[in-house]
Amino acid sequence: MGAIAEGLRRVLELDRELWHIVVLSLEVSLCAVFIATALGLPLGALLAVKRFAGRRAVIVLLNALMGLPPVVVGLLIYLLLSRAGPLGELGLLFTPGAMIIAQSVLVLPIIAALARQALEDAWREYEEQLRSLGARELQAGFTLMWDARFSLVTAVLAGLGRAAAEVGAVMIVGGNIDGVTRVMTTAIALETSKGDLPLALGLGAVLIAIVLAVNAAAQLIKEGAQRRYG
């Protein structure tokens, strides 16, 4: 307990450096979630509404990919982005861009799978009525997405929580470079490996506070919406 208090005190002393780390963490994770949402929501909607050969296999695969180990994703993206790899020309390795890519890959299955579940439940409820009114599949997809918006927000926040908490992927593709690619999780890993546990704990407390805030916001949104819209 005393270690956490001391850690928080040390963390507050870091101010500028800490501020940079926290801001970078949020930027990387938010960008990744944005990309994953832009790709994952339509994918989830497509899987929820359209019937096609191999649909069940895709759903099983997507659910399995939710459990992708971050280090494995990190390694694969590292091999892709390395100068010795196919996308080396982009010069993205060891930059925040690489971290965003890795986290997008990690978070996309989560958002798509959770969105698919929410939208499939909604489709079960709405399908007959929407088809009776003459909605075509694409139209119905958009209507479902808007109507299930609160469940989808929860899915997106689940993705954000995963992105903010992972260390394996960003460590490998980012390189934990001081001032450039050091984020909260890699900073905690570094301080722990240096044996500076109070500082690591302090940073951990800040990270947990952020994740808690995100989840509290999600809960408030859901409850408020439930009350207003039924």
């Binding site: 960008c31 944005f34 010795a84 001081d178």
Partner: protein
């Protein structure tokens, strides 16, 4: 609305990554970074030249691998045989000595193998093996790991064959390995820098130091731009030139931890 801002941020990031030119990437080791040397040294260089130095700190094996892939412009490690192999492969332009620090044998204050104060580190290792006292190894192909293996050889011990449950191969960096040794109250070979900054000492202390064979030589190489066209050869050479220049060497000597000098410049010796 907020979504658009985040999207723009994303592109700005990519843009910054691609457009920024005045920086080099140095692949070095975790122990060097954790010693705090870079935090002290690099701002001096950056102020003088305007070149930003980005250090990716990993194990020695991985640092050299990063160099071989062309993902770094400079490699700065402390494992001369591996560095010479790197040069023999044509992966580096030229190898320079930069500085040395030393390793120290850490052990429990209770000293079950009775090695405290010995001047011969190989003999100390032999006594530890005979006593089957707990010993933590990094086991991660790092410079420190290779140094440890060398000493076992000098002690006449085939550690791969003769190790028992007393020898713990952890595959970790220096900090985590020290944490493990502290928790197990075991012997461990560490670089002085990491030990001086290590805050979780429990019941451990330095038991053997000063043996010449514990000196740890650092070498720096610019990654060969002929093999890897993306290497920023000019900026990288500027960094290496500064490191081995009197100004750079003085800066290295000026780095203190708890009032003690950690690195001893020896370029051109």
């Amino acid at each position: 609305m907020g979504l658009i801002r985040v999207a723009l941020l994303a592109f700005a990031f990519a843009g910054v990554a691609l457009a920024q030119d005045g920086f080099i990437t140095v692949a070095s080791t975790t122990s060097t970074e954790q010693s705090g040397l870079f935090k002290y040294l690099l701002p001096i260089f950056e102020k003088k030249t305007g070149i930003q130095v980005r250090v990716v700190a990993v194990g020695t094996g991985q640092a050299l691998d990063i160099g071989r892939r062309g993902d770094a412009d400079v490699v700065l490690v402390h494992a001369k045989p591996l560095e010479e192999k790197f040069m023999a492969e044509g992966q580096g332009v030229k190898r320079y000595d930069v500085m040395y620090n030393d390793f120290v044998l850490i052990g429990p204050k209770s000293d079950p193998a009775h090695v405290a104060g010995m001047k011969d580190v190989a003999a100390a290792f032999r006594k530890i093996a005979e006593a089957k006292a707990a010993f933590v190894s990094r086991g991660d192909r790092s410079g420190t790991h290779f140094a440890e293996l060398e000493i076992w050889k000098l002690a006449g011990i085939d550690i791969a064959k003769d190790k028992g449950p007393w020898y713990r191969d952890t595959g970790q960096g220096m900090g985590p390995a020290l944490n493990t040794a502290a928790a197990m109250n075991a012997y461990i070979l560490s670089d002085r820098g990491t030990w001086l900054s290590f805050k979780n000492r429990a019941r451990l202390t330095i038991v053997v130091q000063g043996d010449r064979r514990l000196f740890n030589q650092y070498g720096v190489m610019v990654v060969n731009p002929q093999k890897h066209p993306s290497v920023k050869a000019q900026l990288a050479q500027a960094f290496v030139d500064w490191l081995i220049s009197p100004a750079g060497q003085d800066a290295i000597a000026g780095y203190r931890v708890n009032g003690e000098q950690l690195f001893f410049p020896n370029a051109g010796h």
